[in-house]
Symmetry: none
Subunit: 207 residues, 4 copies
DNA sequence: TATGAATGAGACTTCATTCAT
DNA sequence: TATGAATGAAGTCTCATTCAT
């Protein structure tokens, strides 16, 4: 998989600089997008937050949508990286799954605003860019599915392969819903409770 | 709860006419929003599809966002109404739940595009309008929660009250994810399979 | 041949109004284009001269190039119309030719600035639009060729058919060069002299 | 006549280097101008084609228009030089004229694109620069006029002095029209035919 | 009540030119 | 002398909303 960022043309020759500046750009844009949404944020505002002129901003991207892509890609990668780094090669699939769920939900909680953004604005990306982001998502589903499948092999979990895939999807969505249904869930649960209850439900379903 | 539509001012005195026209307006707008998204649809396009002039359109609403609200409210109500109408007062909570899940998922599948729209554009509503839509959502959660609670009372389901609320949320989201993760789920499951597998997982969790 | 103006989309429904306003638009733009050239004239300037807002201007056209097309088409039609109206069905081809040359050169002289504009900016039109303008030009060539051909038939002119076509082109270009080489020709000739000398040269070539 | 190129200031001291680089610059720019027109070609593109940085490019010129002037001057000089080099001091003015016409038209045909460019973009030059280019043109007119005048003196051609000047202009324009009316002329004539027919017409006019 | 032409602010984007390194 | 990142003014175009008829 080629680096998605190389999809985006730039006038600047110094690749290193492009990389650094784009990171700064993402940092500037993400806050605005979270606060106002992609469509209601103007490029001028982003440039101001970016601390550079409009012209300079456009030396690093070609269109406003490129910025959205950089932002979405960043968030998406960020979740993947964080989750990957917490995954240990523990032996017990049951414990592995519990830990993965806990870590994933915790990450979501930490970057709740970003999750929401990724969730709501991905549709504004073009085909190719959207595919990148969704592929990253799929990578996460694969992780959960892998753990469950291991448990099935070891006869610890008692569901079939198809259900394993579905359950992996469910876990992903249950993580995300902690962000996008916060208005309702926060009234009833703390993160800790939420993790515990969801984990219990999943565990029971695996018996 | 006051009729949400009365939130939106109108120049027209004849309440009956307002109601009829707004329904036509919603029908015109919803197709466009589904196809192009709210932000990329222009009021001019809506007026054309609506078969009325810009001026007349603005006799029934005040801002473009009002249209979005009418649309979201309509979709949201539509799901509630359909689901309510299939709910029977059967005695067995287990069967009631199975039926409700099946009916809800089926409704989602039927109006998949609308669900997606509701899902992605609600954020563009203002505080007050968004609250309306989310309240309607909550009504659905209550329905599922009610069935589960009944099962708990009858000692058929073995989970606590808090988990019941959470499970109700889960069911809602699992219905919606059939729409918003269709790009992934459709590869692996038909609607029928999806309903069966999710129902099984929920059933196991209730034991 | 469909009316070229119908090639250009408009937001305005009243066809009559579109026609009137476009004429006003052409009048506003042509002066600016003559003075500053197409590229150096801004749409804002055109709107100001047009006496309407930018938005309104763009209700009558879609792009800046549309304005250029309207202008070029107008000039081109204008020359054709004027020439056509002076053409009499006189019997003597020699006299007909002399008159046509005189009238054509005189028209060019009258709208010298416009001729120059047409001449220099046609290249900025897109394929289809350029074709329209060039086709109109060809119509004029045909007129001159027709007169010459008639003279050949009547054994008054002694050149072959191919040369007749070429000579028709020459006459066209000799008319235009009165505009685009004015910096040189005006030093040596008045319009009257120019017409006489060119007519004499052509007449001798026809012997 | 001072060297036109000295009109354009340069940061670089080494006159020799300036001259060499400017020639390379012209070569780079002319292709782009032919393909896209002056206004639609960006300085960045020219620099890239030139193989130098923006900064370096601007060491050799002051404004984008300077480049256009260098290009126009180059083309204009190029035609003059080529034509001069073919002119022989033959004795017979009639043959001299035929040869000059043939050579001139042939040169035009060879650098048709450049002729067109010169023709269409001269207007974008400023007063002073445009004068340079037009003066070079006049030099060519003088050449043709000279040959004709010689013929008049030798009683071979039978037209007056004023007509001689006009005819010289006509010849120039008839050469150029082979380029700028190619869309029409190429349908009917090859270069060879075109030369022959135009030469015949001119010859007849001289009798 | 209905029409649709008119508004004008503001959106995104480009690009000739400069200047610190 | 050479580089190329940075500038910022200006360009074209859009569109939600209004109001005279």
């Amino acid at each position: 998989m080629p680096d998605p960022k190389s999809l985006i043309a730039s006038n600047i020759k110094d690749k290193e600089l492009v990389s650094v500046r784009r990171q700064e750009l993402v940092n500037a844009a993400v806050e605005l997008f979270v606060r106002k949404g992609f469509h209601k944020t103007t490029v001028r505002e982003i440039a101001r937050e970016f601390g550079m002129s409009m012209g300079t901003l456009y030396d690093y991207i070609r269109t406003k949508e490129d910025i959205l892509f950089l932002v979405c890609d960043h968030i998406s990668k960020s979740v993947s990286d964080k989750l990957q780094s917490t995954l240990t090669g523990k032996k017990d699939p049951a414990e592995n799954l519990r830990n993965a769920i806990r870590d994933y939900f915790t990450i979501i909680d930490e970057i709740e605003d970003y999750t929401l953004l990724l969730y709501q604005e991905t549709k504004s990306l073009n085909r190719e860019e959207r595919k990148y982001v969704l592929d990253a998502e799929n990578g996460l589903v694969d992780i959960f599915e892998g753990i469950i499948t291991q448990g099935i092999k070891e006869k610890i979990f008692h569901i079939d392969k198809e259900t394993a895939r579905l359950l992996a999807h469910n876990i992903m969505v249950e993580g995300q819903m902690w962000a996008f249904r916060r208005w309702a869930l926060r009234k009833n649960f703390t993160l800790k409770q939420y993790i515990k209850l969801q984990t219990d439900l999943i565990t029971k379903a695996l018996r």
